[in-house]
Subunit: 228 residues, 2 copies
């Protein structure tokens, strides 16, 4: 199976898809999609016009599978309960992971990533106004609450949802990696969260994210350092 | 199995959960949750503090299943590919439905519901400022694009994802029902979408939504009329 993942820089959902594909052993190529250009070929794959989108290349005899739009579609395709440890083996594990995905896909995104990465980088790339200082201050405040929550989870288990790495860890790390690119994660105040992130950061699936450089916004000094 | 669904008025995700539970034959009780009060018992079920949350009441011998937070967790619990027509029988159907869920959970919500219901009702209930006229105008503009998309889908099939009703229809109808409560859906310009909505509106699962009255905001005249 060979797949194409349409993605964008510092998009946490694109990053989570990259990690989950790699961890699931799916070979894929990356295609950078500037969604604001609204390319007809891309809109034909995903009328919603956003990234990530995963297109599995068809071979003769394969079922015809539509392109998948959004991280929840991609996760649902990659990980089915029971057959893939990434989404849990039992229904109870599965729900725990899904609840954490809800947290990091909606709450972390709205309270942290949109306020920091959205204001500082995406607005400039999209030429959609100047950064809002109040939003940035909110992002710096909120990230502490999220790191507290991560530490609360890690106090009783090795990974966010239990004793094995799951999609919850990948999604959370993908969000944090976008903020960390800007140097806006106060790691030194959160030792257990830092150790957990260092474990994920050192995985082969993470390496391509660490090599990514966004034009006009160099990463923070420690960003690609495994021993940060 | 008896379950409790924590919900809130005109929350499209709470409404979608109500429809999906009813259509799946799950008996449940409703609990109105004022999330801004941040009740300790509710936060223990869902640390993210938002609705909907589904708690399955345990009986002796049952597996201990955590409460489910967010519509994606609830959908994942109710509908597994292959064993429930609501999420599709084949992988290809399943992806089509998931892509539509992505559309109506994220794009419709951001472009329409937040701009209309969020500005006109939720802000008042939460005492978080006055309605923003620019957002409301954007909502009125955007809903036409979404109704066009619904009609585009219905031009080739009876339901949004194919020839049977799925979670995609329930999620889309839940969003539209919130906007329709305010009388802000221009049904008369969208005949096929109106027929499709009338079919869902007449299902027993929909009746409780039509009986709901939000204090201080009476529904539009035609809201509960099955022959609108």
């Amino acid at each position: 199976m060979l797949a194409t993942l349409y993605h964008f820089w510092l998009c946490p959902f694109s990053r989570a898809a990259r990690l989950a594909l790699h961890e699931s052993g799916v070979e894929f190529e990356l295609e950078l999609e500037k969604t604001w250009e609204r390319r007809a070929e891309f809109l034909a794959l995903n009328p919603a016009g956003d990234v990530p989108v995963l297109k599995i290349r068809q071979e003769e005899g394969d079922d015809d599978v539509p392109a998948m739009a959004g991280i929840q579609s991609i996760f649902a395709y990659l990980a089915k309960p029971g057959d893939n440890g990434l989404i849990g083996k039992t229904m109870s594990d599965h729900i725990t992971i899904r609840n954490l995905l809800h947290w990091f896909i909606t709450k972390f995104d709205r309270e942290v990533t949109k306020n920091l990465v959205g204001q500082k980088v995406i607005k400039r790339l999209l030429r959609s106004g100047t950064p809002n200082g109040q939003a940035i201050r909110a992002g710096h405040h909120n990230i502490k609450i999220h790191l507290d929550y991560i530490q609360h989870l890690l106090a009783r288990q090795k990974w966010l949802a239990g004793d094995t790495m799951t999609l919850a860890d990948l999604m959370a790390a993908a969000q944090l990696s976008c903020v960390d690119y800007l140097g806006d994660v106060p790691w030194n105040d959160y030792g257990e969260a830092k150790l957990w992130y260092a474990k994920i950061k050192s995985r082969p699936s993470f390496r391509p994210l660490l090599g990514e450089h966004i034009p006009g916004t160099p990463p923070a000094d420690h960003y690609s350092n495994l021993d940060f």
